[in-house]
Amino acid sequence: MKSYVNSFPHGVHPPDCKYTADAVIETLPLPPEVTILLSQHIGAPAKALVAKKSKVMRGEPIAEAVGFVSVPMHAPIAGTVTAVDYALNPRGEMAQAIKIKIDPDADQEEIYGTPRDLASLTPDELIRAVQETGTVGLGGAAFPTHVKMKPPAGKSVDTLIVNGCECEPYLTTDFRIMVEESDKIITGIQLVMEAMGAKEAFIAIENNKPEALESMAKAIPAGAPISVRSLMTKYPQGAEKMLSRAVLHKDVPSGGLPSDIGVGCFNVATLLQLGQLLPKGQGLIERVITVSGGGVERPGNYRIPLGTPIRYIMEQVGIRPEARKIISGGPMMGMSLSSQDIPLTKGMSGLLVLTEEEMRDGGGTVYPCIKCARCVDACPIFLNPSLLGLLARKARYEEMAEEHHLNDCFECGCCTYVCPSNIPLVQYFRIAKAMNREREAAK
């Protein structure tokens, strides 16, 4: 294999559109009401601890984790529970949720928490403490962080890759927190290293973010086994599999986890929250998101309580009438939202409000595949998306998975992005995977 210095072969270079890179993180005024979905993460939904009319303090746990692969929820504002019922989730389904109305007289400054001496905790206790913060992967995957910190029996992690790539266009939250709150990120890195017994950590940042590279390098304490790696600017540089290739020149085995090669991958935003919450023993109640796109009047990076309805955020930043699509996350892998009633969840790293001109989302004519092989040259996993697309059209889903490695696809969208025929390849692959899962389940 060709060795790629600080990157991976293939991938694409979408226009970066990082208009909000210079916008200092701003805190939005508290919303009058929040909706906390009980399932904002991968794993079992949390179980409500409060009932209608309960008074909650800001940061108080309102739902508990059910089992290990689950996280608790905390009240993002002090107020009164108005309902424990159902609300629209980002996928457009009605899901269990706790609704809290703000209490105008309550103290919104004081945050519930029990500070503790982290140095005295054993690794297992530390992982338990991480679960109690309710932290999940804030880059978008929303996988419970503490689960990642406990690799399967027999595996150990000696290297940490800290993902500060933010390779998605438009998004600038990770960049801003690296510039503004580098010291707390370092605290988070050190805590995770300690809990996992990792010997070294690499902070991976794309080379189009020199300020972040500099700020993170400065924040590393002398002698700490942490270093900054400047990586090539390329999408999807921030994907786990690509990072391990770029930083360590190792492949995560097909169907495996980074822990199989002794690697743990964490997003900077996740580590920032850990660095901030763990010492104070608090829960995750807010996050920084980028609100950008041509449909927004005041694009920027905002610190917003979780559960804030998107409608409220849009009222605060101003939405233009030309807005046609709201995307949670980036334009390459983000999910388009069906309604402004959906609340902010832990996994939303950005809200993009795109206009008709910006979208270019394949609404137009789909032409037949002309085998131009641009998808083959873009696929970072080295699949043949063109062939998979043809098989999907013929509903040969099993063959796709068994012969052509469909399950190695992580839906980065490169193939679809470059396709001149406008074929919705990723959508086909999602359908194929879903059909295969259904078939497996039926067996």
Binding site: G255, P321, S336, M359, G362, I370, N384, E411, V418
Partner: protein, 361 residues
Amino acid sequence: MSTEARPLIIGSSPHIRVKQSVPDIMFHVALALLPVAAFAVWSFGLSALLLLLTTTAACVATEHTACLIARRSTTIRDWSVVVTGLILGLTLPPSTPLWMAVLGSIFGVSVTKSLFGGLGYNCFNPALVGRAFLQIAFPIPLTTWTPPDLPGRFSSLLPTTLTFPFLRADTAALADYIRTALASGGVDGWSGATPLSMWKFAEVPQFESLPRLFLGSIAGSTGETATWLIILCGLYLIARNMMNWRIPAGMLLGAFLLSGAFWLSDKTHYPSPMFMLFSGGLMFGALFMASDMVASPMTSAGVWIYGFFIGMVTVIIRIFGALPEGVMFAILLGNAVSPLITSATQPRTYGLVRQKRWIKQ
């Protein structure tokens, strides 16, 4: 702030795409062929113009009719069939009777493209299949050549151009016409050969001078003579990322190396590698026909092999075959093996340890 004026659009990611679409690519290929076509008209006059117009119109009409028969909306707007028509016209001798050109267009587009499901599903280059059909059906008219820059080429047609359909092209009348026209320009004698056939079939091999080959003042198919212009137009497509440069590069390299080996073994008998590259349809084939996306392999290692293969087969046919020119059959052969090359060169998927068997049993 009427935020609910229009419903939000939802859709699957990615939400952005590159702007270049299939019709864009095909349009630019057609555009890149125009200078070559213009040079053909300049060299060979009205007959070449009529020939190009005829093949293009016949190809478009064939595709449109095929779409009507198949009861689907017409696909002529994606420009791909225009490219086919232009390429077919550019690969035919200028004196080709128009009715044969029409027949070749119909055969190429209907059998190779429409029958297989239209754009994207053809395993061979339709223009080349059309030409191969004509070459086999009408070997004499397809190997009858006209010298370039003939006096009077803009005022009269070559005698064979308007041959009545299904009648034999009168090549003797053409030879007379050429002799008379050349005499009026003060030149006498016309061997009726292309540089390649002069090398291959002359008693003592004759090698056309490289500058003449490069500048295109030679006999040949309408569009294959001006090497310099073909290279420029090809570079335009490469610069716009509308052509995979590895295919022409591999093909030229393959032809260069193999013919170089022959040349070193016997310089009086075999032409120099540069002669090989600049003569006949090699340059045009490399840049505009072998690089056809649909019929070429999909992996980057595969396209090198494919190009190299075509280049070598071309040289082998030229040296050992019965025909002086081998580009057309070499490319068709390359088209035939391209799916095999694709599956043989499929790179290792990320995270997989072993490569699977490359040919499925």
